[in-house]
């Protein structure tokens, strides 16, 4: 009998009783189906994904081509990046920089990257100016790098906005007023709408003509001419996704925070009020610290969820703009490139895992007591 098993026995008994042994056997039988299912739908597939991320496996018509082992080529392909200074256009005769409107002109960053003649062709992810120079970030899979960046921007901004809005809604609804039940019911409406459906509703509201709600409204307010193309304007593509996600998931945040608020004893506020603490002081000294555990869990849920975003991007943009997950999906289904898709999935997994670890460290979350 091992040390651990003795520790599990009640202090009085000397050995495992027949009853305890029976209990142990029953428990294992009861757990078996759950762990079998988890093994089939999660552990084995994940192991396979990790393995095939090192192969050039592809789906061919109807049959699987078991790929050859290719090492880290897929990862190289997805992650190779280079930061280069784009050369300025120089006049052949004078040897001086060619100016246009007093600004130096530069070569086309794309053509410049192509001309570098790397073994894998480079594409531009982004260009930016530092000082008087133009820099370009090139990558072998520009669309994947962009998808990672877009997903991170999406995650940080939507979670931040959701937290602030959710807090405002929760604090408002924490007051007792007539119609509180109606408001709480209204909060469940966005949550209950299928994500794909909410994407399509917002797609319709954001139509590029005044048939759409936002263009009608903005035109009535005199902000735009009523033909603003939200989804076609590159700078607005990610913010549009954030807007939909915030609408859909703020209620979840607010509900969690509301539940957390209800556990804070009212006497604390009364005491603070007697001491003359302002409402803002009360929020930062009482509400926020006591709400921290709830907020931490809500943040983890929402962040990990936002990092996996797929439905919104796939429904609205298809292959025009990717989230990390929709990139991996299209690699699998459209390009039928199992190896690349798997490598992308593993990278996504690592990113999500890193976020989870970061939260657990930073916020000291421990959900098991």
């Amino acid at each position: 009998m091992t040390k651990e098993s003795r520790a599990l026995q009640p202090a009085k008994s000397r050995g495992p009783s027949k009853l305890a042994r029976g209990e142990e056997r029953t428990a294992l039988w009861l757990l078996l189906p759950s762990f079998l299912i988890i093994a089939v739908v999660a552990l084995y597939p994940f192991g396979r994904v990790v393995l095939s991320s090192f192969t050039d496996e592809r789906f061919a018509a109807g049959t699987d081509l078991r790929g050859e082992f290719v090492g880290v080529v897929n990862y190289q392909r997805l992650l190779s990046m280079t930061l280069r200074q784009v050369p300025a256009v120089v006049d052949v005769d004078t040897g001086e920089r060619v100016l246009r409107d007093g600004q130096p002109t530069f070569e086309n960053p794309r053509l410049f990257l192509r001309r570098l003649g790397t073994s894998l062709p480079l594409d531009a992810v982004a260009t930016f100016r530092i000082g008087g120079n133009l820099w370009v970030l090139g990558a072998t899979s520009a669309s994947f790098i962009r998808s990672v960046w877009d997903t991170l921007v999406f995650t940080v901004s939507s979670v931040a906005i959701e937290t602030v809005l959710g807090m405002i809604i929760a604090l408002t609804l924490a007051a007792k007023f007539l119609g509180r039940g109606v408001m709480r019911a209204a909060m469940l409406v966005p949550w209950a709408i299928i994500t794909v459906v909410s994407a399509r509703i917002w797609e319709w509201m954001l139509q590029p003509t005044r048939a759409g709600f936002f263009n009608t409204l903005l035109n009535d307010l005199g902000v735009t001419d009523g033909s603003y193309a939200f989804f076609q304007t590159a700078a607005l593509q990610v913010p549009a996704m954030v807007a939909i996600d915030v609408w859909k998931t703020t209620p979840f945040m607010a509900l969690l925070l509301l539940a957390g608020l209800s556990t804070i004893p009212g006497e604390l506020y009364e005491a603070a009020e007697v001491d003359g603490a302002s409402p803002i002081r009360r929020f930062f000294s009482i509400t926020l610290p006591l709400l921290m555990p709830t907020l931490a869990v809500a943040l983890i849920f929402r962040t990990l969820d936002a990092l996996r975003v797929f439905d919104l991007f796939q429904v609205v943009y298809g292959e025009a703009r990717y989230s990390m997950a929709s990139y991996a999906y299209y690699q699998l289904i459209a390009a039928r490139n199992v190896g690349m898709s798997s490598a992308a999935s593993v990278i996504i997994f690592v990113i999500i895992f890193a976020f989870a670890l970061f939260y657990i460290r930073a916020l000291g979350v421990d959900r098991d007591e």
Partner: protein, 283 residues
């Protein structure tokens, strides 16, 4: 002095109600917009500027939706899939929840951690592997959806039910054992009926999650269009007549799949809020 205080109180009240109104409109408006769009005629839908209220409300979009076989099949498929997922995860989850919440055995804590870790597992990380498993086994699309949805419904169900079982008095179990009942008899006849409320909550949440799921549904039905579920049907919705996106019909379809869910959620709202906040709030 007192009148000034009364004034500031009134102003506060007004601001409070304005805030309530703004929140309410923000939460409800997209749903309202979908509803009025679904009720508009084709010509009113494409008219600019858009109207805030349908001039000649019509049910023609709803009629079109109920003649759309792809959509109707999607509804049927979704009901089958979400229903089976709910039953399967409740049965399997109740077993595990009972074992983890009430029984003493070696490996209990590691098992709990595995379950907890699984609740955070990203679906995309298993997509290609799961697809390969399904293709190798030659599994039909609907059962494979049911099985694969366990990846997100089961860990959550087990987690919540474990907490619930833990809360039931252990004396119940001991009394039954003293009376000579086996562990399983105690579980089925005494503890399980007591967990009915938790089963309703987790069952509802599992159903809603399965009803919502899109990534697996889209992937695993890509070669089996007849197995498409509601989210896939709505994402790929094509009109009966026009080649343009038929937003009137899409909005009607959106309303059709949303109303029952909202009704369900509102009817069970206390349970759902309880379930959503379970584990997040230490009460």
């Amino acid at each position: 002095m007192t009148s000034r205080r009364r004034l500031s109180k009134t102003v506060g009240q007004v601001l409070f109600w304005i805030l309530i109104a703004v929140i309410f409109v923000y939460l409800i408006f997209p749903f309202y917009w979908a509803l009025i769009s679904a009720l508009k005629t084709q010509s009113e839908l494409i008219r600019t500027p858009a109207t805030y209220f349908p001039e000649n409300p019509t049910l023609q979009n709803f009629r079109a939706v109920f003649q759309n076989t792809a959509f109707l099949r999607g509804l049927g498929n979704s009901l089958i899939v979400a229903g089976s997922v709910t039953v399967l995860s409740l049965v399997v989850g109740a077993f595990a929840g009972f074992a983890l919440g009430k029984l003493r055995f070696r490996g209990r804590t590691p098992s709990l951690y595995v379950i907890l870790a699984m609740t955070m597992f990203p679906q995309i990380a298993v997509l290609a592997g799961l697809y390969a498993v399904i293709r190798t086994l030659g599994m039909p699309a609907l059962p494979s959806l049911v099985l694969s949805y366990m990846i997100f419904t089961l860990p959550f169900t087990v987690w919540v039910l474990t907490a619930f079982f833990k809360g039931l008095p252990t004396t119940l179990l001991q009394a039954a054992q003293v009376d000579g009942a086996s562990t399983m008899q105690t579980f089925v006849q005494i503890l399980l009926p007591l967990t009915a409320p938790a089963l309703v909550t987790t069952g509802l949440l599992a159903f809603i999650q399965a009803w919502n799921e899109y990534l697996f549904a889209l992937t695993f039905t890509s070669i089996a269009p007849t197995a498409r579920t509601v989210p896939v049907a709505i994402a790929l919705f094509s009109g009966q007549i026009s080649r343009e996106q038929p937003f009137g019909e899409i909005m009607a379809a959106a309303i059709v799949v949303t109303i029952p869910l909202i009704a369900l959620v509102l009817f069970f709202q206390n349970r759902i809020v309880e379930g959503l906040t379970a584990g997040a709030v230490k009460g």
